[in-house]
């Protein structure tokens, strides 16, 4: 998930391609095509790593591997099957529910922390900033391990708690596993989002605050009138990151079952996990490709809607 979230800063760039503000001097245009040589290595590898696989996925999604006859062209049958597949929709529903709860909680925390640190009223600001960001550097496998043990009842703190108080709490019971995953994901990415908000706040000219203070504005008014509007662009970006990240959720549910028995994590817990299991343990590559493409379409649509809505009526975009 880390890679996905980090990479998606680019999505927002589509809204503000600033190359337009820096036109190359006219004499360069004459011997123009030199840029092609610079972009060629990236372009060629990009085609190999992105374009060709996507086209291949489209091709694959039109085939089914049948017991008799082998790989058979089936047209859009995989897509038809997918739309009636309750296991697929179960996963889609789960990531939507997860997104609706976890993303707002995480981003509100991230924003509050960024505002607190930016106010310079917190002791040890630098230390706090770095510490809160640290979880981002932890691989998902290690994060899942640590949280699996912390929240686990067998060797973990919840086991100790239950022993001490005679309770019977289990954060990885089927009904609460998704919440526990939420705790893990929030842990991993709040700091990263906080830094993005923090960076946006740092870009606000300090004189604005002084001017507002002279005009008699108190701190809350400054936050409402200056700081929150300044965060709007980054909020759109972070929402898009987070949505794409949660829609791709894979690592946590893939790793957890090996640590916790009866966590309620199924092979189709999230769409990505389902696609992985279809392709690599079920040999249904065509069906998995169709699933992945439909998820891509859903993700792009949601990200696009967020971007359009988020930037509508924005003062400077």
């Amino acid at each position: 998930m880390g890679l996905a979230r980090q990479v998606d800063v680019t999505a927002s760039a589509m809204a503000s391609p600033d190359a337009a503000h820096h036109p190359a001097p006219s004499h360069k245009r004459r011997k123009s095509q030199i840029g092609l040589a610079f972009i060629a290595p990236f372009g060629a590898l990009f085609a190999l790593v992105f374009i060709v696989p996507i086209l291949y996925a489209v091709y694959l999604s039109l085939f089914q591997d049948k017991l008799i006859g082998g790989n058979t062209f089936v047209g859009f049958a995989n897509y038809g099957k997918l739309f009636q597949d309750p296991q697929f929709w179960d996963g889609v529903g789960r990531v939507f529910r997860f997104t609706l709860v976890q993303v707002p909680i995480m981003l509100i925390f991230a924003m509050a922390l960024a505002l607190a640190l930016d106010s310079m009223r917190v002791h040890g600001t630098r230390f706090m900033r770095v510490t809160i960001f640290l979880p981002y550097a932890v691989p998902a496998i290690v994060a899942t391990l640590m949280w699996g043990f912390l929240l686990g009842v067998k060797y973990g703190l919840f086991g100790s708690l239950n022993d001490a108080f005679g309770t019977d709490l289990d954060p990885f019971a089927p009904g609460t596993t998704l919440i526990s995953i939420g705790v893990m994901v929030t842990w991993a990415f709040t700091g990263f989002n906080m830094l993005i908000f923090y960076a946006a706040l740092k870009a606000v000219p300090r004189e604005l605050y002084e001017a507002a203070a002279i005009d008699g504005a108190n701190e809350l008014q400054i936050v409402r009138a200056i700081k929150l509007p300044a965060l709007r662009g980054s909020l759109v970006v972070t929402i898009i990151f987070s949505i794409i990240g949660t829609f791709q959720m894979f690592n946590e549910p893939q790793i957890l079952p090996s640590m916790v028995a009866n966590s309620g994590v199924t092979t189709f817990y999230t769409p990505n996990l389902y696609a992985y299991n279809l392709a690599f343990t079920g040999s249904q590559q065509g069906y998995a490709a169709a699933l992945a493409l439909v998820m891509a379409a859903i993700t792009i649509t949601v990200a696009y809607v967020v971007q359009i809505r988020g930037l509508r009526n924005a003062p400077d975009q």
């Binding site: 996905a4 310079m120 912390l150």
Partner: protein, 294 residues
Amino acid sequence: MHPISSRRLYTVENPRKSTTLTVMTALFMLYCLLPLVWLVINATKSQADFVSSFGLAPGREFALWDNIVQVFSYQDGIFSRWLLNTVLYVVVGATVSTFLAALGGYALAKLDFRGKRVFLFVVLGSISVPGIALAIPQFLLFAHVGLTNTPWAILIPSFINPFGLYLMWVFTAEAVPNGLLEAAKIDGAGEFRTFLQIALPLLAPASVTVLLFSFVSIWNNYFLPLIMLKDPAWYPLTVGINQWNKLGSTAGNGALIQNLVITSALLTIIPLIIAFLSLQRYWQSGLSLGAVKG
């Protein structure tokens, strides 16, 4: 609450510290630190202590060194192999991807070529395609040409970092003055030499940012190596640790090795934390620029 005279001591740049705000921020910091503290404490315990003692209390014996020795010797020292693999993937992958991103970002910001807008649209648009939509066909394509189960299966995808390209594009537009480039060309430098000797040094902060984030994403990558590699000899740390984890928690007749899993997990995150802490001045400025432009 406070008389005007005492408030004058505090300015916008240096306001009065707030205890409430500090405590609230510190509470969140504890949430961030708790698992890491747990990891450090438990890496010092023997397997017997791990099973029997309270999670946040030290064990009866201090077994950290013993655990580290065991990590490096278990299964004929395969951990060293995983560590070397990870270093290979990270060093080659991050270096190449950063250089390609700088080259491409520079071209987008300072050079003209046909199809620039289409290129940007396709690169930026393709970012929202989920990893799995790429990984399955990537795996099948690589399998066709015999690249799966080789380091190339991990390296080639890591060479492309669209986020890096974006950062470099934004950064070049901001930090590399056109006048300097023109002066270099008037002095007779070719386009590539101008890029290498004039632009690249100016792009150092952005390069550190892109390098560091590539470093992290390759070091932490789990999904791609999981599907691409079958032979444990090519595993990176993440996949290797998970293999031990499976072995360690489900060993029916074998020995439990959770102490090794925990110690190896700690060893895996230490280099990243060091990299982040020692380079924070650079990557924070790079990230700021990306965030502001976004």
